[in-house]
């Protein structure tokens, strides 16, 4: 189980490395766009934030899909721009009424999810929130302004249920793990 934690930390380090240069779209768990992983807070409705970073241009639209893990149930998208086709769970295309400043991080929208904490005990692979290509247009990225050119982006993966609960064990059981 601790190996899983190490893997999570290693992946998060990779995410930080990627995010330093490449335009990307990612899910954050706080409005300040700094929290990249989260443990289950209980059976509550939670708000996450989808942000576009490192584009260094003015943006006129964005397109992506979010793959939600079993540990949460997608409820709704919030704070959307005026023209939207689809939703984050099925694939969303959004256009801004006025160009937005992509020279600094931009919150594209917020999403509401309902935590289902029992699913946190599932395999680690299930506990990720992935930003992926829109399933119908096969595009992940933004359009700039005023050219309306497509700028592809990398979709980052956020992690939930990353803290593994401590389990009582014995030396015998530990030795058993190594076949001794």
């Amino acid at each position: 189980m601790r190996i899983a934690t190490l893997v999570v930390l290693a992946l998060m380090a990779t995410v930080v490395a990627v995010s330093a240069q490449t335009p990307f779209i990612a899910v954050y768990f706080d409005e300040g766009l700094s929290q990249e992983s989260k443990d289950c807070p209980g059976f509550v409705v939670d708000t996450w934030y989808v942000a576009a970073l490192n584009f260094n241009t003015f943006l006129s639209g964005a397109e992506f899909q979010i793959q939600y893990p079993p540990a949460v149930m997608y409820v709704a998208d919030l704070n959307l721009p005026p023209v939207v086709v689809g939703n984050t769970a099925a694939g969303i295309s959004m256009g801004f009424a006025l160009p937005v400043n992509g020279f600094s991080p931009i919150t594209l929208c917020a999403v509401q999810v309902l935590w289902l904490c029992e699913a946190c005990d599932g395999p680690f692979i299930d506990n990720v929130v992935k930003v992926v290509k829109h399933p119908f247009t096969n595009f992940l990225g933004v359009t700039d302004f005023p050219g309306y050119n497509e700028i592809p982006a990398v979709g980052l993966t956020a992690y939930i249920c990353a803290t593994v609960p401590v389990e009582e064990t014995s030396w015998g059981q530990v030795k058993a793990l190594y076949g001794e």
């Binding site: 006129s60 005026p82 023209v83 801004f96 009424a97 247009t137 050119n149």
Partner: protein, 210 residues
């Protein structure tokens, strides 16, 4: 005999005076420079790119029925209409929807390049008009019809971009795109660049004729 000749000469003079200065729509060559087919995106507010920015323009030489060039026709007397047999382009303020760059010079020449078009609808061809005359190709005297696909964010041509147009755009968008009117950049598919353009003109407030 001389009276007959004098009478005939008088008639010709009167006819000449009467026809001088009247535009000959079939004697006014129009030179189009640009791609074929061309693609142009428009909005009722007229705030899209100029023809020149989109990479095409027109050069006119306007002559009267005697073949003499007509000078000083105001640029606002030139505009474009559609020549699509199955669809209509709805113009904001009619003839003011597009203009020539300047009045015709002493050779009857002017260009249309710096104007944008303020319109709604979705058509596949444009014809030039001067003072109400649709210009015709010299020889066959059939109206010019340039292969320019005009797409507007005002789908239904009511000269305002509103919820009806948003609904029409949503239908045109994947996964089940219908028609080509939502393909604003004529790329062959309706995608995010088209949606972004639509959003800019949808607002709120939705763009409409000035």
């Amino acid at each position: 005999m001389s009276k007959v000749l004098l009478f005939a000469a008088s008639l010709l003079l009167v006819a000449g005076i009467a026809t001088a200065g009247i535009i000959d729509p079939c004697g006014a060559p129009v030179v189009y420079t640009g791609a074929t087919p061309e693609c142009y995106f428009t909005c009722p507010q007229g705030d899209t790119n100029s023809f020149l920015t989109e990479g095409f323009w027109f050069a006119f030489t306007i002559k009267d029925l005697l073949g003499a060039p007509i000078a000083n026709i105001p640029g606002s007397d030139f505009w474009m209409i559609d020549c699509d047999p199955v669809a209509n382009l709805v113009l904001c303020a009619g003839s003011a929807s597009s203009n020539a760059d300047s009045a015709t010079n002493s050779l009857g020449k002017t260009t249309m390049s710096l104007t944008s078009m303020a319109a709604g609808g979705c058509v596949t061809g444009l014809s030039p008009v001067v003072q109400g005359f649709i210009l015709e190709q010299p020889g066959p005297c059939t109206p010019y019809c340039f292969n320019i696909k005009v797409r507007s964010c005002d789908f239904n041509g009511d000269l305002k971009v509103d919820l009806v147009d948003l609904s029409a755009f949503a239908v045109a968008y994947p996964p089940n795109p219908t028609g080509t009117c939502g393909d604003f950049d004529c790329s062959g598919t309706v995608g995010l660049p088209d949606l972004s353009k639509f959003a800019f003109h949808f607002g709120p407030p939705g763009h409409k004729c000035n």
